[in-house]
Symmetry: C2
């Protein structure tokens, strides 16, 4: 039997039927959305595997992410996941539309759908409040509207963007997030969509392979901007979560950033410490897709170059094509930080009370959650 | 006395008087350039230190990079530099102009100025052929025109770009480079200039600190593109040199790239091996600005995660604000690869014959070049 451990999954993708979203839209958005005009669409990069795991279906052929009970039974149960944070499919690109009122209406409908259909369905679910950054004031209002529902544990934005997120334009979003003690998270997938501009610093790549490999460029640019613009000085309690961007790029970026700051800090007089200190204090990363060097010791060495025990949180990205199961991620992590990465760092960040975790059989190589008496 | 060693510097910036460029221009470019219309200009990010080292002046107050004899006496001599490769100031942005004929004319004039004023002046100088990638056929012709002058040892392009460099549009440049056995190098500084588009995947950052820290995003995007598009399969002898981009980001990018390729390789059927193998075979990096973690062992650990002994070459970036002197770089490098990084890898790449190096006194902490009998 596999060792028991607690698992909090910081990135699970629930899906929805667009017809259900219509129920939560007022006119004229209801008519517009029902016509099939549902936002800026995707960019057209093609994943030859499909983005969704083909095996994530029930015995009856239903996609498991399409309803809360199937997702719980087919993913939370076998892996003994204590909490799973839902970041719904087809929501992030909406904030990159040309019409901010329409964007705000759709993301509000998606959030309402989660609050109605998902959060009450299983005590293990938590969710992100998706906001559309194309109108920061409307995004702030959406945070204020939903924050009283404690099932929502963070604010989520697309990493595709036309401006780096440190810029003052976006600060109303951060003010609302900290007012409600909610972390701010980015999730990739929208780079190059709608008004975001090119997905890389060198323009539009050709293939999904290139696009996906290079996504970290957007993360690096946002992170540099958030620190340089003094967001973490202005909002000292803000936590910034970079979901699904990997971790191996972080130490080198911090070194480069600190070195430049030493020479150029007259440009950021509001920073009282080297950039890396703000990063280590305010930024968290999720594990998936965890880097897999041929020699696993090299990843462990990288994880020793920043405080991974307080910055890194497990995410599965289930049911996406390149997801990592908890047991897979656990094997890649150094033993000394495993427990914190798999559950405790996320528990602290999202203030998730300890629960009597479900003890399940360790089928399919699944990690088994225990109650501590293993 | 400091230990003697050979040094080849792969990135020295000579300057020029724009009035001298006029001598090499035909009409109507001569009139246009003389009017002060000299290309797309820079982007307007401000380095508060100035980009040029203020101390790089002769006793008479002349900038040392402005003529070959002063540069040799004030930089090559004291550091015992056996060869220095010249990448002239204010040349890279020209390839991001809107008018490819004008761009081609200016870069040709700069190249002719180097061939006339610099290469004959000192046997230690070599130079890059700057080309304007906004018309690949004209760029290829410029390579063909200058390749017979063996003082030119590589082709140089800006890393600012509107399209990733692996795309077929650019292949005529690579065909010309390999036909003349010349490596292709990128150099930063033009991200966001002219037609290049935004300098990061998240748009235009605010400050030079941000812009400079994030430059590596452009490098990553070009590198991913070059490999993915099969440039190194189509041109198996092409070497690709990433100047001034640091090195610490490389291992993590190779891991991410290989992992994605395993799942998505149907999109790149021309790749017969994992992306990292093409990178390790075809790509070289220059050292400056070398990353400086608080714990130097961390940089050495990173340099052990790829074959730095054959991929990394010393560069000073002299006389720029953040340059590294040979002795500074030498101290950061593991002893086992130091000699190759400081000279031998560049000697092989650029086919630089061994010379009787100048033995000089080790003033100012300079590295002293010896003849081998130390």
């Amino acid at each position: 039997m596999a060792p028991s451990r607690l698992v909090i999954d910081t990135d699970i993708h629930s899906s929805y039927d667009p017809r259900r979203i219509i129920d939560f839209l007022a006119e004229p958005w209801r008519t517009r959305y029902a016509s099939g005009n549902q936002g800026p669409g995707n960019l057209g990069y093609w994943n030859p595997n499909g983005v969704m795991r083909p095996d994530a279906v029930t015995e009856d052929g239903v996609r498991v992410e399409s309803n809360p009970h199937d997702l719980a039974r087919h993913f939370l149960d076998p892996y003994g996941i204590e909490y799973g944070i839902l970041n719904p499919e087809r929501s992030l690109h909406i904030g990159l539309g040309t019409d901010p009122d329409f964007s705000a209406a759709i993301v509000a409908a998606i959030n309402d759908m989660l609050a109605t259909d998902w959060l009450p369905a299983d005590p293990r679910y938590r969710a992100s409040i998706t906001v559309a950054p194309n109108d920061p004031e409307l995004a702030a209002r959406e945070i204020q509207r939903l924050a009283p529902n404690r099932g929502f544990v963070q604010v989520l934005m697309p990493s595709g963007a036309r401006m780096p997120y440190g810029q003052r334009y976006f600060h109303p979003i951060y003010a609302a997030a900290v007012a409600h003690d909610l972390p701010l998270a980015l999730h990739p997938g929208s780079e190059g969509v709608g008004i975001s501009g090119a997905p890389t610093a060198a323009g539009y790549p050709t293939s999904y392979l290139e696009w996906h490999t290079g996504l970290i460029g957007s993360y690096m640019a946002h992170l540099i901007s958030m620190v340089s613009e003094g967001v973490f000085v202005k909002f000292p309690t803000l936590k910034f979560v970079l979901l699904e961007g990997g971790a191996a790029w972080l130490p080198g970026l911090m070194w480069r950033f600190d070195k430049n700051w030493k020479a150029l800090r007259i440009q950021t007089p509001w920073l009282e410490r080297p950039p890396s200190e703000y990063i280590m204090e305010h930024v968290l990363l999720s594990t998936q897709p965890i880097e897999e060097p041929e020699n696993p010791a090299e990843l462990r060495a990288i994880l020793g170059m920043f405080p991974a025990e307080k910055m890194l949180m497990f995410s599965s990205d289930f049911p996406h094509w390149d997801g990592d199961t908890p047991d897979f991620a656990a094997r890649a992590l150094p033993g000394g930080i495993r427990e914190r990465v798999l559950s405790e760092t996320a528990r602290e960040l999202y203030r998730l009370p300890a629960r009597e975790a479900t003890l399940v059989s360790g089928t399919n190589g699944a990690v088994v959650a225990g109650t501590g008496d293993e």
